[in-house]
């Protein structure tokens, strides 16, 4: 039954691997960086956390060069269909690398790392490991690759979120994340096995072709979909697969929270987009297909539930990180709206939204870290009167939050604009979803504004404290992020062109 390959075949395989490796340089580079970081940490014995941080930062920045080179390469499959290279994947490579760089910067800014952990060594390495996983998630085109990359991300994330070993909440976060993640990936792999059973393929393109050609049992297909969705939904943090996220976001070190909420979520969406767009058999128009619309209905339910649940529950939060966790659930809902549209505008909208989310969410978490350095707390009540003591931080945080609400002239508004444009470009089909999105974003204003409300409208409990300057670097960074958030809200052409350019998925027929 299983025959060994002949010599010529082996030669072919080796050639193909070599060719694939040429398109795999960023990942290889990052893997080397990962190992280098461990080595450097061993060499410095963890005594030079700043050096390590900057090294990571520089290393990540260097990877951009290799990623940039990939623009010249032709889109195609690598490693026997395990992996693809397309503009979509390149976009996410940039995205994740930038995310990781932000995470590094945030880590260096967070004073809790000085007190909570003795050695920061593996931390940066794990950030990079998670980055590799995510990069691969965005490019995986085989169920196996999907599973592997997701597990790589998950395992790194478990450790990262529990990185403050002596902090009970951090450990608790890790435990919950672990249990939840393990079960979810178990469900997903079970779903994969059903898909494999239906089609005898693990390659996404081949699965799609198989499904289109031979049809399928809708019940099994739906079960498989649901199970797979449990895995993906856990990554993007959408209702009802979101339960881990508030606890983990609250308990994990803040940079990790930010990293999870932006990068991990984006990775989930990369996977979701690729998986759903490619695997679902498409007719002329994706939403005319019966099975497809079933999936879409499912996604629509999840999306609506996420928007409502996330926004509504966030109102009650007293902890800023937890509040942002719920808000990130809601944002997953908005992003899903873009996925549901199932065309290039939708993809573009999702990509743009992710970009805007990257900017504003990291900005918000950065300010939260700065404030936490000062107050040692993320409780809303401790934000009272801070606007007066840290005016720039207050202003910046307000801008980021306004952007998260989606008010002009911020980049978050443009993100929502694209999402809703994508929905309405389908005529009256998705107006209902757009309405839900619109209404819940009004609700979101309320809780987002709780933070500026406490910072500016309320008096500090200790009124005599003087103004505190978080340092030149922090100020500059905050200002730059703030200006960027507004700048891209007004002149978003480069971002949206980039998103549009990157919305090309390999192997997708309906473009």
């Amino acid at each position: 039954m299983f025959e060994l390959p002949s010599g010529a075949e082996i030669q072919n395989i080796i050639a193909s691997l070599k060719a694939g490796a040429g398109s795999f340089i960023p990942e290889i580079y990052l893997s080397i960086l990962f190992m280098a970081l461990i080595l450097v940490d061993l060499a410095t014995k963890g005594r030079k956390p700043i050096l390590l941080g900057w090294l990571t930062f520089a290393g990540l920045a260097g990877s951009m060069f290799f990623i940039h080179q990939q623009h010249q390469m032709e889109a195609g499959e690598l490693f026997f269909g395990m992996y693809v290279l397309d503009e979509f994947a390149i976009f996410f490579k940039y995205f994740f690398v930038v995310s990781a760089m932000f995470a590094v910067v945030l880590t260096m800014a967070d004073r809790r790392f000085d007190t909570e952990v003795k050695s920061i060594g593996e931390y940066y390495a794990l950030i990079v490991a998670m980055l590799i996983g995510m990069v691969m998630m965005a490019a995986a085109s085989d169920l196996l690759m999907v599973f592997l990359s997701m597990e790589l991300v998950s395992l790194s994330a478990y450790v990262l979120s529990g990185y403050f070993k002596r902090d009970g909440r951090s450990s608790e976060a890790a435990l919950k994340y672990l249990v939840y993640g393990a079960v979810s990936s178990g469900l997903m792999i079970y779903g994969f096995s059903l898909i494999y059973g239906l089609t005898a393929q693990t390659n996404l393109l081949l699965i799609s072709a198989e499904l289109a050609e031979h049809g399928y049992d809708p019940l099994v297909m739906m079960l498989a979909t649901l199970l797979i969705l449990a895995g993906f939904g856990y990554k993007i943090g959408a209702v009802p697969f979101h339960f881990w996220s508030p606890d983990v976001y609250e308990g994990a070190p803040t940079p990790v929270t930010a990293y999870l909420s932006v990068a991990s979520k984006a990775a989930g969406f990369a996977l979701l987009l690729r998986f759903f767009y490619i695997v679902i058999p498409h007719g002329l128009s994706p939403y005319e297909d019966i099975a497809g619309s079933e999936w879409l209905a499912l996604l629509a339910i999840i999306s609506v539930a996420s928007m409502i649940y996330g926004n509504v529950v966030a109102i009650w939060q007293k902890n800023v990180k937890r509040l942002l966790a719920y808000s990130s659930i809601a944002h997953a809902g908005y992003l899903l709206l873009g996925v549901i549209v199932m065309d290039s505008i939708g993809t573009q909208a999702v990509l743009f939204y992710l970009l805007s989310y990257l900017l504003m969410n990291y900005g918000a978490f950065y300010v939260i870290i700065l404030i936490s350095n000062r107050t040692g707390s993320e409780n809303l009540d401790d934000y009272r009167g801070l606007g007066r003591k840290m005016p720039l931080a207050g202003a910046a945080l307000t801008v980021f939050l306004i952007s998260l609400v989606g008010l002009p002239p911020t980049v978050g508004f443009i993100g929502k604009l694209f999402i809703f444009s994508a929905l309405l470009s389908k005529g009256s089909l998705y107006v209902g979803l757009a309405l839900v999105g619109i209404m819940t974003s009004v609700i979101s204003l309320y809780y987002y504004m709780l933070i500026p409300l406490n910072m500016f409208l309320r008096e500090s409990l200790e009124p005599n404290e003087r103004e505190q300057n978080p340092g030149l670097f922090a100020n500059v960074l905050m200002a730059v992020l703030m200006v960027l958030t507004i700048w891209f809200g007004l002149f978003f052409e480069p971002l949206s062109e980039f998103a549009h350019y990157s919305s090309a998925l390999f192997g997708l027929s309906f473009y």
Binding site: M1, L148, L155, V159, G168, S171, E172, A200
Partner: protein, 105 residues
């Protein structure tokens, strides 16, 4: 009769489903973190059985490869998980996941 006596794909799938259900049951009801991990292993192994069965009946190596990777990754996951659970034990003096609930709502 032959269908009943000969072991067919449905047998595999049934076993797998039972394993899956048992795993889920363990995850949902057991308090001990280690037992929950074992439940997860059951789920993964249920999937493995599926993969192998489909691989045999559909003809192709993908399922086999898949299950190999799953086994490996399950081991890796167990390693990480045990580390975390040990840490939890250090802090909370328990491995009862239901008592680790300082963050809620």
């Amino acid at each position: 009769m032959e269908q009943l006596t000969a072991i067919g794909i449905n047998h595999y799938l049934t076993i797998s489903a039972i394993l899956f259900a048992l795993g889920l049951f363990a995850v949902m009801t057991r308090r001990n973190a280690i037992v929950i991990l074992m439940g997860v292993e059951l789920i993964l192994n249920a999937a493995n059985i599926n993969f192998l069965a489909f691989s045999k009946w559909n003809g192709g190596m993908e399922g086999v490869m898949f299950s190999l990777f799953v086994i490996v990754l399950a081991a890796a996951e167990a390693a990480v998980a045990l580390a975390i659970i040990i840490n939890i034990y250090k802090i909370f003096n328990t491995v009862d996941v239901s008592s680790v609930d300082s963050m809620k709502e």
